[in-house]
């Protein structure tokens, strides 16, 4: 006897990668995934993007590394991570990567290192996609970030693509540019399979009494609800500029926020700082999404994506 099932499906595809829902966890805000296992079923997420990985373990920046700001926060963690090998050996096997796509975020300081990392991860079992973080200073060109220069961003993309084989390569853009659409187009042309918008905005906070910056690194990355309008604008601009899928990230903290990004043109989203507001945030959003879709009268996200009337 057939049972009545709700016709609402939050499933999406990012290129070839099928996700049971559009909710991914943003790199650096969900640890290596297992930290959040007590608070929800990891398998209920669309995917897990792990903390940025580098070839060698990194200590990251000195403390303090965090500051709270109005509706947001600054971080200058500085890519502390256990290194790609330790991740593949110790962390990945413990994740339910057969049932939930695990996406590796990678960080390097030159194109060769990016390529090497991409190769290692693409060959690893259980990595569904690679997210390239181009918000790092290009040492060779005097500190400007790879992601701030269309040519450099494209070069890194190509380098990783060459090593990645069948594994999709996503590129995560920085909002701190004059024209994010130009970077997006360059990276698309270089072969990226999807674009993630946005990384944090450079910001700063100070301690008046001590006359010091609140972050040892002086400048950190602003994230959280405060930046949602900027992220939404970037998604909109990028989605109109490219044909590949766009993944929205920045200040998303409710199922309605998820839908707003999809309306602006995103195919999927990432939940970052909201994971700190409560550790079950991403799980709760995944659980709430079908009802939120129903309330809007849609049964698939396809019906909403990019449907903004302007």
């Amino acid at each position: 006897m057939p049972t009545e099932t709700s016709p609402v499906s939050p499933a999406v595809r990012v290129g070839n990668l099928a996700l049971k829902n559009p909710i991914l966890t943003a790199s650096g805000t969900f640890g290596y995934g297992l930290e959040f296992a007590p608070y929800g079923d990891l398998k209920s997420l669309g995917g897990i993007i792990v903390k940025g990985l580098s070839l060698k373990p990194r200590l990251g920046n000195p403390m303090p590394r965090l500051a709270e700001t109005p509706c947001g926060m600054l971080n200058a963690i500085g890519l502390q991570n256990i290194g790609v090998e330790a991740f593949l050996q110790d962390k990945l096997p413990a994740l339910p990567h057969q049932e939930v796509p695990v996406i590796a975020n990678l960080y390097a300081c030159d194109a060769d290192e990016f390529a090497a990392l991409g190769g290692i991860l693409a060959r690893a079992e259980g990595i569904a996609a690679i997210e390239v973080n181009v918000s790092c200073p290009n040492v060779a060109s005097g500190g400007i970030l790879f992601g701030q220069d269309p040519i450099q961003a494209a070069r890194v993309t190509e380098a990783v693509k060459k090593q990645a084989g069948e594994t999709p390569v996503w590129v995560k853009l920085t909002p701190n540019v004059s024209d994010i659409a130009a970077v997006a187009r360059a990276v698309e042309k270089a072969g990226a399979d999807a674009l993630c918008c946005i990384n944090t905005l450079p910001g700063m906070a100070v301690d008046l009494e001590r006359r010091t910056p609140r972050l040892a690194n002086v400048i950190g990355g602003l994230s959280g609800p405060a930046i949602k309008p900027v992220a939404l604008r970037c998604v909109w601009e990028v989605a109109r500029a490219v044909k590949i899928p766009v993944i929205g990230v920045g200040g998303i903290s409710s199922a309605r926020d998820v839908l707003e990004f999809i309306l602006a043109g995103a195919t999927a989203v990432q939940v970052g700082t909201a994971n700190f507001m409560r550790p079950d945030a991403a799980f709760a959003m995944a659980a709430a999404l079908p009802a939120a879709m129903q309330a809007l009268g849609i049964s698939s996200l396809e019906e909403l994506r990019g449907q903004l009337k302007v």
Partner: protein
């Protein structure tokens, strides 16, 4: 060790009670907050929870880490110093409201049934010792030395009425010296008895305890109060440097560390 304990959960817990201890003003005062939070089967004094009341809205992002004061019959008791924007909103919680809570988090203090155990605390660092004392199988082994600035009735001081406990009111440098001297003497004794020293308090206090631990050779644990983002080991915002030069999360690998193994 910590792994086995981590049966943490996250709930919107109803407030059962919230009141200012003592008769001082609310700002800068300590609040006893009791939450309805059933479900823990295992917890350890020295562990903590993250609290995030609805009044944070989207404006204050992070939960605030608060030591488990005590946990009995599904009721979670916390002692909160109203010291800033976040703790002010915690102090304003009223019965009937709910507050998002996740925990128990972190590792907690060592417990050695037969070891004489010296508890050292400064200010609101007294909080975890309420539950520690309550849960200890041999309270006669416990001693507590407490440096404080508010009158004793602003703290959960009566929790220590059945053990050897002494308060040191800090009004000036001489008082502080007296407290430090008392701590040193007690640590010397504890070291001689191969006992345990547990400490919790502000950073300068912990630095002093660490120095005394080195000088006296007492086996000493420090509970660190680093600023936290997530509380669950994910954001890497709370790290301290261990004796290997590695950066370890205070929230998930601490907040309690052996004094010899951590830089404060």
């Amino acid at each position: 060790m910590a792994q086995a304990l981590l049966k943490a959960s996250c709930h919107d817990a109803p407030v059962l009670e919230n009141r200012l201890l003592g008769s001082g003003p609310a700002a800068g005062g300590i609040w006893k907050l009791v939450l309805d939070f059933p479900g823990w089967t295992l917890w350890r004094p020295g562990q903590f929870v993250m609290l995030r009341p609805g009044s944070f809205g989207q404006e204050l992002i992070w939960g605030r880490p608060i030591s488990i004061g005590d946990y009995q019959n599904g009721q979670l008791t916390l002692y909160i110093l109203n010291t800033g924007r976040g703790t002010e909103k915690l102090a304003a919680l009223t019965p009937g409201e709910t507050c998002t809570v996740w925990g128990p988090l972190g590792n907690g203090f060592a417990q050695e049934k037969s070891a004489s155990t010296l508890m050292l605390c400064g200010g609101i660092g007294i909080a975890p010792f309420v539950g520690y004392t309550h849960a200890h199988p041999a309270p006669e082994k416990l001693t507590l030395l407490f440096g404080h600035r508010l009158p004793l009735d602003s703290y959960p001081w009566d929790a220590f009425s059945s053990i050897s406990a002494r308060g040191y009111l800090e009004q000036g440098p001489a008082d502080l010296q007296e407290f430090i001297t008392a701590m040193r003497e007690a640590m010397v004794t504890t070291a001689a008895e191969k006992g345990l020293v547990l400490s919790c308090g502000p950073l300068p206090f912990l630095r002093t305890v660490q120095r005394l631990a080195k000088e006296t050779g007492a086996r000493t644990q420090l509970s660190l109060e680093n600023r936290m983002g997530c509380g669950v080991g994910a954001c890497l915002g709370c790290v301290a440097e261990d004796d290997q030069g590695k950066r370890v999360q205070t929230c998930s690998r601490g907040p309690v560390f052996w004094s010899t193994k951590i830089t404060v």
